[in-house]
């Protein structure tokens, strides 16, 4: 069975409030599709996504695997880098970067390093 990757462009979720955005993403994942979203969630939205996921878990839906890559949020101690990040964040908003969300029954594990994301899939028939 092929794995469907559904691309969600920034414009498709930028006008939605957090609740609707999260519901939309979970709805896609529950169809056994992998979400590839342009942009990143806020920290609050990430927490809300986990809560919503937990509320949706049953014997069929096991949860999600999620990761995001935001080139503007490189961890750094340097103040000048952080000011630069804030400035770019103001211009780009949360559009830069990518978020990947997959259903836990298909995506067994996501391993992330600063420059690499690896998806390990469950054996599918």
């Amino acid at each position: 069975m092929p794995l469907t990757i559904q691309y969600v462009p920034f414009e498709e979720v930028s006008d939605l409030d957090s609740e609707r955005k999260i519901q939309k993403l979970i709805r896609i994942v529950k169809q056994n599709k992998l979400v590839l979203m342009e942009g990143v969630l806020t920290t609050q939205e990430e927490a809300d996504l986990i809560e919503e996921t937990m509320e949706s878990i049953d014997n069929k839906f096991k949860g999600v695997e999620i990761t995001s890559f935001n080139p503007l949020e490189k961890n750094t101690k340097l103040i000048q880098d952080r000011v630069k990040q804030l400035f770019l964040q103001m211009i780009w908003g949360r559009r830069r970067g990518l978020t990947i969300i997959g259903p836990a029954n298909i995506v067994r594990e996501i391993r992330k390093d600063p420059n690499r994301i690896q998806l390990f899939l469950s054996n599918r028939k």
Partner: protein, 209 residues
């Protein structure tokens, strides 16, 4: 005027006097050693344990609290309410518990309770004055759950100390946690064997000063 000023100062003093104990939360992914750490702290300063630990994930499925834990270090005292939280996860599969030896019904119940525990742990973020984020130093720190927990604490301006637990194990890599979260103080500890625990208590004073 002076009297009013004195009353104002007395009011402020009263607020601080009546301020409840600092709420020190323990957060992290499942099986990182949160309850093991809570037990270590409670054993050291109260002479009793806080909760049960288990190799099966999600052993702690409800918030656990010990009030008025007082730590002494270098002649200074620090009192707080210690709050151990369920491990935060994005997936919970009852079949994983079956693989660990639980019966199907027991596994399903555990999964259901674990989902509620995760929600509860997230809701409690707003109640914390300071947080110890416990990570398993043998695992990849770039996991989204770790990033979400620490990001949410930062957004709430809650002071954080990251503990890379299980440094007694060969695969432990505290440096990798430091690289993942360079803005934070990271301390390698072993909650089970007590490695670096004295240093941890010193850092605790800096965290909640």
């Amino acid at each position: 005027m002076i009297k009013k000023f004195k009353n104002f100062l007395a009011g402020i003093f009263l607020i601080f006097k009546n301020k409840k104990h600092i709420r020190l939360g323990i957060y992290g992914p499942p099986n990182a050693g949160k309850t093991r750490l809570a037990n270590r702290i409670c054993q050291d300063w109260l002479g009793e344990e806080m909760g049960k630990v288990s190799p099966i994930p999600h052993e702690t499925r409800e918030i656990q609290q010990k009030e008025k834990v007082t730590v002494n270090s270098n002649g200074k005292k620090l009192s707080f309410n210690l709050i151990d939280t369920p491990g935060i996860a994005t997936r919970i599969d009852y079949e994983d518990f079956i693989k660990k030896g639980l019966e199907k019904r027991e596994a399903q119940t555990r999964a259901k309770e674990a989902t509620k525990g995760v929600i509860e742990a997230i809701k409690w973020l707003d109640n914390m004055d300071a947080v110890l984020v416990v990570l398993d130093s043998t695992k990849n720190p770039y996991d989204q759950v770790n990033i979400t927990i620490i990001g949410n604490l930062a957004a709430r301006n809650i002071p954080v100390l990251i503990l890379g637990n299980k440094v007694d194990l060969k695969k432990a890599n505290v440096k990798k946690i430091e690289s993942a979260f360079p803005q934070y103080k990271v301390l390698g500890v072993s909650a089970e064997y007590g490695n670096n625990i004295e240093q941890f208590y010193k850092e605790l004073f800096k965290l909640v000063r």
